[in-house]
């Protein structure tokens, strides 16, 4: 009998996919990882929704629009352990540097008054998720269990964290792996 693999779901909200790219820097260690791990909803699998029995959810990016809120809540509902991955998930990161500018001013600058804009109009398609007033860190929207700082966290951070968790140890990052940049 083989032991059941641990289900991992991942997503990038208001992020740049840099954390996902860093995760892929695990390189040959990914081969060892998939011995113990099965990927559920993730850009790596193209599965659209979380199974209801995910073990670990890795979330990159902050929360900038209504869709991000729905996705984050889906992850919280379906993952036993939710992890904020990277600077943007932890404090909003670079997208949050819009937070002291009003949303109206942001939209006007990008779509109405900016240099070289033709046919200026604020995008208003029903398919587009509505922007939030601010970009929020994950922990201000749902309960987060662990935080992996870094921009991005290095592959070694993912490895240290996941191997600890898979071995049933309380994850602990050594000094060299805690970086906010």
């Amino acid at each position: 009998m083989t032991s059941k693999k641990v289900k991992v779901a991942t997503v990038s909200l208001a992020g740049c996919f840099g954390c996902h790219m860093s995760f892929l820097d695990l390189d040959e260690r990914l081969v060892d990882l998939v011995e113990h791990v099965q990927f559920d909803r993730s850009p790596l699998t193209d599965i659209e929704h979380c199974s209801d029995d995910c073990d670990i959810g890795l979330i990159e990016g902050g929360v900038c629009n209504s869709e991000n809120v729905h996705v984050l809540r889906e992850f919280r509902k379906n993952c036993k352990i939710l992890v904020a991955v990277g600077a943007c998930a932890i404090n909003g990161g670079l997208p949050a540097m819009r937070n002291h500018i009003s949303l109206e001013d942001c939209l006007n600058e990008a779509y109405m008054d900016g240099i070289g804009i033709e046919n200026p109009q604020i995008p208003n398609d029903i398919e587009l998720p509505l922007l939030l007033d601010k970009v929020y860190p994950l922990h201000e929207v749902v309960k987060i269990d662990y935080f992996l700082p870094g921009c991005p966290p290095s592959a070694d951070v993912f490895w240290a964290f996941l191997t600890d968790l898979l071995a049933g140890r309380e994850p602990e990052l050594p000094y060299e792996l805690i970086h906010f940049d």
Binding site: A84, N91, G93, L94, M97, F147, Y175
Partner: protein, 239 residues
């Protein structure tokens, strides 16, 4: 006979008039701090150096050492308090480390690393704070100011200029510049002043020097802040 008190069970010699912080640094014991710098009059405002003296919380940088004191510096409770204080500093300002020139050399960041802080815990203020880049050699990014007053004290005590001050109280306090326009360019600040180089965070920066040290060679990339602080601030000697 030398007078002594104890920190975490270790005998610390002191001279009359020394603070707990001064005696500890001289004896090679690190007490976490941000607003303290041995060059200047202690300010006692950041509260990171809070220790238990005979069971009561005191700021080590201002509290005088005395015979037979029993001081607790490192405990789970005190370090958790220090982490919460550091998290409050992070959410009160706008500290986006990946886009800050000071990253890797920043004492606020290094204290957070030292305390094993991985998140900011509290809701962020996302305050709108100004940047003053008017001076030819020095800039102030108020987003990163933690009101430690080191620049205020350096300007007053070392440079003899009074370029900086803290205005307002509590949540409304802010760093102000002593010039008619309120801008740095109209103040007496010179790029070589002590006050221009003393900021523990990335709030006061020297222009055209950013990112000159590569990642991996910055102050806190490998060294903990306790070792760096003791080497640069204390007169470390074997007891």
């Amino acid at each position: 006979m030398t007078k002594t008190f104890e920190i975490d069970g270790k005998k610390i010699p002191y001279e009359e008039g020394q603070t707990i912080m001064q005696a500890a640094s001289a004896a090679g014991v690190y007490i976490a701090h941000l607003c303290h710098n041995p060059q200047f009059t202690p300010h006692g405002s950041c509260k990171l150096c809070t220790v238990k003296v005979n069971g009561r919380n005191c700021s080590a940088c201002t509290f005088p050492a005395s015979e037979g004191q029993n001081v607790t510096n490192v405990s789970k409770e005190l370090n958790e308090d220090r982490e919460k204080i550091t998290q409050m500093l992070f959410v009160e300002g706008n500290h986006f480390c990946p886009s800050c020139e000071k990253t890797g050399n920043c004492q606020l960041q290094a204290v957070a690393y030292h305390l094993n802080m991985t998140d900011n815990h509290y809701p962020h203020f996302f305050e709108n704070r100004e940047v003053d880049a008017s001076h030819p050699d020095v800039m102030i990014d108020h987003n990163r100011c933690i009101f430690c007053t080191l620049c205020v004290r350096a300007s007053e005590e070392v440079d003899g200029k009074n370029v900086f001050a803290i205005s307002g109280r509590g949540i409304d306090k802010r760093l102000i510049v002593n010039s008619k326009s309120g801008l740095l360019k109209d103040s007496e600040l010179d790029g070589n002043d002590c006050a221009a180089h003393i900021c523990p965070t990335g709030a006061i920066l020297i222009k055209r020097t950013g990112y000159s040290v590569p990642i991996g060679q910055r102050i806190y990339d490998h060294a903990h802040i306790d070792a760096v602080a003791l080497a640069s601030e204390g007169e470390v000697h074997d007891l």
